[in-house]
Symmetry: C2
Subunit: 225 residues, 2 copies
């Protein structure tokens, strides 16, 4: 499999951007073996809000947030042409070898096998990387609403610079950084998986990454690969 | 089974109210055979918002909203003492005969069997009534944040009067009314199930309904029972 592509929930805030990205992903699926893992976005944000008000257990909040990924996956299935949802690795793999674009809904896998720790450090970034490692994908691509990983939030600090490339160990050591969850670098180190963080508002960059071309993004190299 | 009790998601807006209600439900479960069906609340509201922005298919929006009920069910499991979640009718029934309070998560049943139409006319009210009919419960109790069914929204019109009792046929015929979804009266007519709509801010009213005592609520009598 060429790549597992996580579509960040924050992209849903701009329907025109999300629709253009989804059309491009459908086209990419005709040439590449890819699967989509949904982010959580506003659905997971609703869970965060209640977690703060009700001090939920880590396990309950984690499960609720994962259901938010299923919800966003169902939304994506409406926006990505020629896509379909699945809960199964084997179905996802088989579908990705055809021309359809499978969207993996993570709830059943995560509830049954519980392979990652239940905390807000593990979000859809780490879940996408875990799925990529289990499916032996070449890379995991995290599509978000900024150009990649920055030391501080580029929406708040216009002078902050994109980090074009760093190792998973370096990512782990960065005290301040944006765009990816805390657990991700540990998982990349363990799974030897390369990870790209890229802006979904420029879907041609995803095509460039898959074609092995240089583009604006952050590449997190798995150190020991 | 004595009753299926739907806990409306709107009650989550006031943690003190929800917690007091949940403690009372746990006490009621020691004397009565009951199960809880969660509402959707803010989790379903997030789906409605995206449905408006993305014009989702009825089927996708329906599934996403049902996942919202699972999410609220997981939240309730954190607030109701001595409760547990289940996807299975047989587990729910067995648990309700002991002293634990089962919370039924509807996604698996609804996705697999798809027994009700996929539309916003079918919300957790109808799903709770469907669960009650399948479990041969004596009644379905819809716990919400107002005193029962009104002809107009009591939060906006202080002069509107509570309807203490009406038949499912009368409910179906009411052009304007509050508190319950559109499909519910049809389902009550079909299943011959009595339905109570009651304010969760006064949990003693739920105890009164189960004890067969008069209290402030709306009773929707299944016409042909």
């Amino acid at each position: 499999m060429d790549a597992v592509i996580k579509v960040g929930g924050s992209l849903a805030g701009n329907p025109a951007t999300l629709k253009a990205l989804c059309i491009r992903l459908s086209e990419i699926a005709k040439k590449h073996s890819i699967i989509v893992v949904p982010g959580g976005g506003k659905f997971a944000d609703a869970v965060r809000e209640f977690d703060q008000r009700y001090a939920l257990s880590a396990d309950a909040a984690h499960k609720m947030a994962i259901l938010g990924m299923d919800q966003f996956g169902l939304l994506l299935s409406q926006v990505i042409p020629n896509s379909c949802t699945t809960y199964s690795f084997s179905d996802a793999k088989q579908l990705s070898e055809g021309k359809a674009l499978p969207i993996f809904l993570p709830s059943r896998l995560m509830f049954q096998e519980n392979p990652l720790e239940a905390s807000w450090d593990v979000t859809s970034d780490s879940i996408a990387a875990y799925v990529a490692s289990q499916l032996h994908a070449d890379k995991v691509i995290l599509v978000t609403d900024v150009d990649g990983v920055f030391k501080s939030d580029p929406k708040k600090h216009s002078d902050t610079k994109l980090i074009p490339r760093l190792s998973a160990s370096e990512l782990l050591a960065l005290a301040q950084r944006t765009s990816v969850d805390k657990f991700l670098p540990k998982l990349l180190l363990k799974t030897h998986l390369d990870c790209y963080v890229v802006n979904g508002a420029y879907p041609e960059r995803i095509g460039a990454i898959l074609a092995g071309q240089r583009t604006v993004c952050t590449l997190v190299k798995a150190g020991s690969k």
